[in-house]
Symmetry: C2
Subunit: 632 residues, 2 copies
């Protein structure tokens, strides 16, 4: 009988030929959502064939783009041979947003917690509370605290009032044999829940609070696996596109409260959706939370004034974040759950990065030198190995996310995500997310387009368009010029790229490239020293390395040194949610990182200016395709 393997959980079973994928999934215990009840109508039950193949009765509901990527509809597929199938852990509302599905794909499986590692912050253990005896002078609380201490020493036991309220009943229901979730730290045993019976599944949520998007992942803590993920835009987005504008907006406590409310509403909506679509999981059954976000996002999530992050001496309120109860934080899970927040190391290198590097060789402490870069509105970079770790951040601006680009947009339905430029005519063919009419261009489309325009000589090293009239797509109007992908029509401006847009892109890529160079220089290294170049962030997934190298966004290293690790912040939060070893590792790594402030670093501005060409003023860094000096 053929064998079907469901990823990422590696759930395996043998089924007869012709068994439907939903049936096979159920047999393995793999969870796929079928919003239209397997009628083939909603196209939400997509899975991706990683090895082998499935019989797929295509009914035309799946876009060409997705089919090209290997996706099929689970409800219209059956097993014919040995096959490995990836279940995307979440499907966004808009086709093309599969960053969650593949977020773990580049991360070595052995970096994730093993079964032995599983120890969430609040772990469940059965304890025996002595029976009440008449006139023994002990209340239920006294006997409970004694039992907690007997099972594991604690100087203080912190029992929330609502648990104390239910304690008498729980003790009597269970004859004193109760299941207790406790988180022990610094001599204090914080009780999170007390039940008379153990639940089949213990849930937790891992949250990545990004400046642009917020990902919430529901985890089966008992079995150490992802159940489902939801990614949404951070509701703060209308209050500023980047970190600095968020800080500027949150200038008083009313605004801070507002910003906190916005990100909480985003997170809570995510949690609520996850609970609902996974069998209406009761709120109280989510007893662990792990959160990773950049320093500013962590401050706003907790309602702390972020202003001092950007004022000398640039001191965040929290680096190591103390534990707080969900009820205090406003998280709609078990009110007594404690939220573990990934530590910050500086104003602009935050918990998203310390969590993120759990997905890299930094977590192994090896001697190979690695460079980790999380490309988003900010670019955060960590360089080092088992001996040293340096971290810094640079402001790339929103160009990679379609911001600051006249016809730019995020990578959602209608965005041009890739183009093919005919070098002769200079005309281009556009590939649009979700098919349909192009509405704008996203970051990956921008890179795809600019690299080809540069190769074809349609733009020069300064990013100026060819105004000779040779290329009809280049339209000149006075001092400005633009490259037109989709001509304007009545009421529709079309899609195009201005020289000003190109400038913005160049500034963004220069910021990132020069930050990498400066960090390397500070330890007398160059790109040749790098063994692994990790690219994190949803955006990283979609850029073609050769195009990015062409433009000087990435250095000229062998393609196999680049490793996409997707949303490493979320993956790191997930690991920290499950495992004490990983939480300790994050703390250690955070303590080891030396935070570099680029603005005070000698040479950074020079490097930045030097990188303001395509690919670079120093062409030696990028001479010839495929024969770069840095390739080993």
């Amino acid at each position: 009988m053929p064998q079907i393997t469901f990823l990422p959980g590696k759930l395996v079973c043998e089924v007869e030929v012709g068994t439907s994928v939903p049936e096979a999934a159920e047999r393995c215990g793999a969870v796929i959502s079928y919003p239209c009840a397997c009628k083939g109508a909603c196209a939400k039950c997509i899975v991706r064939v990683e090895r082998g193949s499935l019989d797929f009765a295509d009914n035309g509901k799946l876009s060409f783009d997705l089919k090209r990527q290997g996706f099929v509809l689970a409800c219209r597929s059956s097993v014919s041979e040995d096959v490995e199938v990836l279940i995307p852990s979440s499907v966004g509302d808009e086709a093309g947003q599969f960053s969650d599905a593949i977020s773990r794909m580049g991360v070595d499986e052995d970096l994730f917690p093993t079964e032995r590692d599983i120890k969430p912050l609040a772990s469940c253990a059965k304890i025996s509370v002595a029976p009440a005896e008449m006139l023994d002078g002990l209340g239920d609380y006294d006997r409970f605290v004694q039992a907690v201490r007997d099972s594991s020493p604690a100087a203080a036991v912190d029992l929330p009032l609502d648990l104390l309220q239910h304690l008498p009943d729980v003790l009597r229901e269970s004859d004193g044999d109760v299941f207790v979730w406790r988180a022990d730290e610094g001599g204090v045993s914080r009780i999170v829940d007390i039940r008379s019976s153990a639940p089949e599944t213990d849930y937790g949520v891992a949250v990545d609070i990004g400046t642009t998007t917020v990902a919430v992942q529901l985890a089966d803590v008992t079995r150490g696996r992802i159940v489902d993920t939801v990614t949404q835009y951070n509701a703060q987005i209308d209050r500023g596109a980047d970190i600095i504008s968020r800080i500027t907006y949150a200038k008083n406590f009313d605004r801070i409260r507002e910003m906190r409310g916005l990100v909480l509403s985003t997170i809570n909506r995510g949690i609520s959706e996850l609970r609902e679509r996974n069998g209406n999981i009761p709120k109280d059954e989510i007893r662990n939370v792990a959160i990773a976000g950049n320093t500013t996002m962590a401050h706003l999530f907790m309602g702390i004034r972020p202003e001092y992050i950007r004022l000398e001496p640039y001191t965040p309120a929290v680096m190591r974040v103390p534990l707080h109860r969900a009820s205090e934080l406003g998280l709609e899970v078990n009110p007594n759950a404690l939220a573990w927040v990934s530590p910050n190391v500086g104003s602009y290198v935050g918990g998203d990065i310390t969590a993120g590097i759990l997905c890299t060789d930094f977590a192994r402490g090896v001697q190979e030198v690695c460079l980790f870069i999380d490309i988003g509105t900010n670019g955060e970079i960590v360089l080092g190995n088992g001996d040293f770790l340096l971290g810094c951040a640079c402001s790339a601006g929103p160009a990679f996310e379609g911001g600051g680009i006249e016809r730019g947009m995020r990578a959602s339905r209608g965005a041009i995500e890739r183009v093919e430029v005919d070098p002769e005519s200079g005309e281009c063919r556009c590939f649009v997310i979700g098919g349909g009419e192009p509405k704008g261009i996203c970051g990956s489309g921008l890179i795809s387009l600019l690299a080809q325009l540069l190769d074809a000589g349609i733009i020069d090293q300064r990013g100026k368009l060819d105004r000779s009239g040779k290329y009809p797509s280049v339209r000149v109007a006075g001092k400005t010029a633009r490259y037109v992908m989709v001509p304007s029509s009545e009421g529709d401006p079309g899609v195009y790229l201005t020289e000003h847009d190109i400038d913005n892109f160049i500034r963004a890529k220069a910021a990132i490239f020069s930050a990498c160079v400066t960090l390397l220089n500070s330890v007398d290294m160059d790109f040749g020293a790098i063994d692994k170049f990790y690219i994190a962030g949803g955006f990283g997934r979609y850029i073609a390395i050769d195009r990015a190298r062409t433009l000087g966004l990435l250095p000229f290293l062998d393609e196999d040194k680049f490793l996409y690790i997707g949303n490493s912040s979320l993956s790191g939060a997930f690991m920290s949610l499950l495992s004490e070893r990983h939480r300790n590792m994050v703390s250690e790594l955070a303590n080891r990182i030396t935070y570099i402030d680029l603005s005070t670093e000698a040479g950074y501005m020079d490097e930045y200016v030097a990188a303001m060409f395509l690919p670079h003023t120093n062409m030696e860094l990028f001479h010839g395709k495929g024969s770069g000096v840095w390739a080993r």
Copy 2:
């Protein structure tokens, strides 16, 4: 110049003859309320002359009854000679309710905390937080925690989120020199407040949660004095008059929540009134709370099911009550304030008693044998000395509070609180609280009446009325008879006492007397062994000892062995609010008390039956007035 002393705070100053009392009070720092702005209209600014006299320009606004007790209106009085004046800490809405004013009067001053003792749970100390340095890897939180630990070791620091939110601003406002309120226990330093400047006055509230009334006392913690007190009926009162009916009512979580809400509303209304009428004290400035209540009241206050208190093996949920934050408890003070709750020692001997005995020689650990009795709906008794302590409770029923008596009422306006019976005619003259028409009879009136009826032979030892027709006040109707104090008139039933009422009274006094005897018997003692007989509870104040002895409610001891200590539960809560030494003392005393369950005690029922006569079946216990065998 004459000297004026304001009690209970012992504030002294010298003033010229003719100085008005308000002016003198202001000079001493004593606080008197003048709701009508010293127009002499509201009669609320009453004070009582304890020694010496004041010139009082009586305008007729003060009742005769109050004048008889030595009260004057402060706004219409001036100083003419050395004088001591007691400021009642609260004046109820109804005249006659001055139990708060005199609650401390019977308690030895030296039992109260001295200036040196003052150490509330959350005490304020100034600490220096190191300044932020660029790139030192420390957030505000890290430096704050370090400073807390440097000032006094703590394994864990518990900082509520709202304080963390304000920490960055407070540190910068104060250049790191901050005032921190912290409560350290079991290695955990719980932070209650952080300010950049110290307030002039630090406030706290002491609360006595009685089954019938709730007293809330505002204290100036800095100076160790009472500011003001409010006493109100417990809003739970409609859900059952006594403890057992409250427990029975609170049978499910909806009801428990309701009961919790009711008592919280009472307490919070009290706090709000105290804040308002003492200069609109901000909620946040009340940073300490101490609470004393019986076991059931403590459970309902915290929303804990009280049912198991009365089910075998009679185990309360809490004996030693863990600290909780005001926000969690629902108390409307500083949300981070911690509430200290006086410990319980058994199902029916609770925190009101452990706090209460702070007002007795038990707190001194002397060898003299003392008996403490708190008379209310329940009678709680503690017997012992420095070597042993026994505690028990009995259910007296509501007779002493006017319950179970047809024309009974609480000691408020309109209640007959005392009578004078003419032994010849059998007719009586009534003294009514607040003057005016009598509406009913309260506990003290009942004792006054019954003792005189017994002396005159109008009732016999069984409590039966003389039906010979000799006394016109005794009206016989069939098998029943009643004694009429105020004849009925159209639409008004008048005030009278039935034989059934007398039966209820006898049961109540028998329960208390026999409990005392049983407790004494259990350690082979009799009343002769008792050196001090403490009577606590609002009711105790109003009973005349000779009358109570006549009826066998109190034993036949010398009058000077009886000590009224008023609302000792509130006084004990006040002491515990101020002083760590007193909190430790309460815990020690609570640990030392052996709780006796009368229902399982051999001989209790026999003693009870024997006490069902007036004064007792064993007349030897009460032979002759003033020559009791127990008198020493």
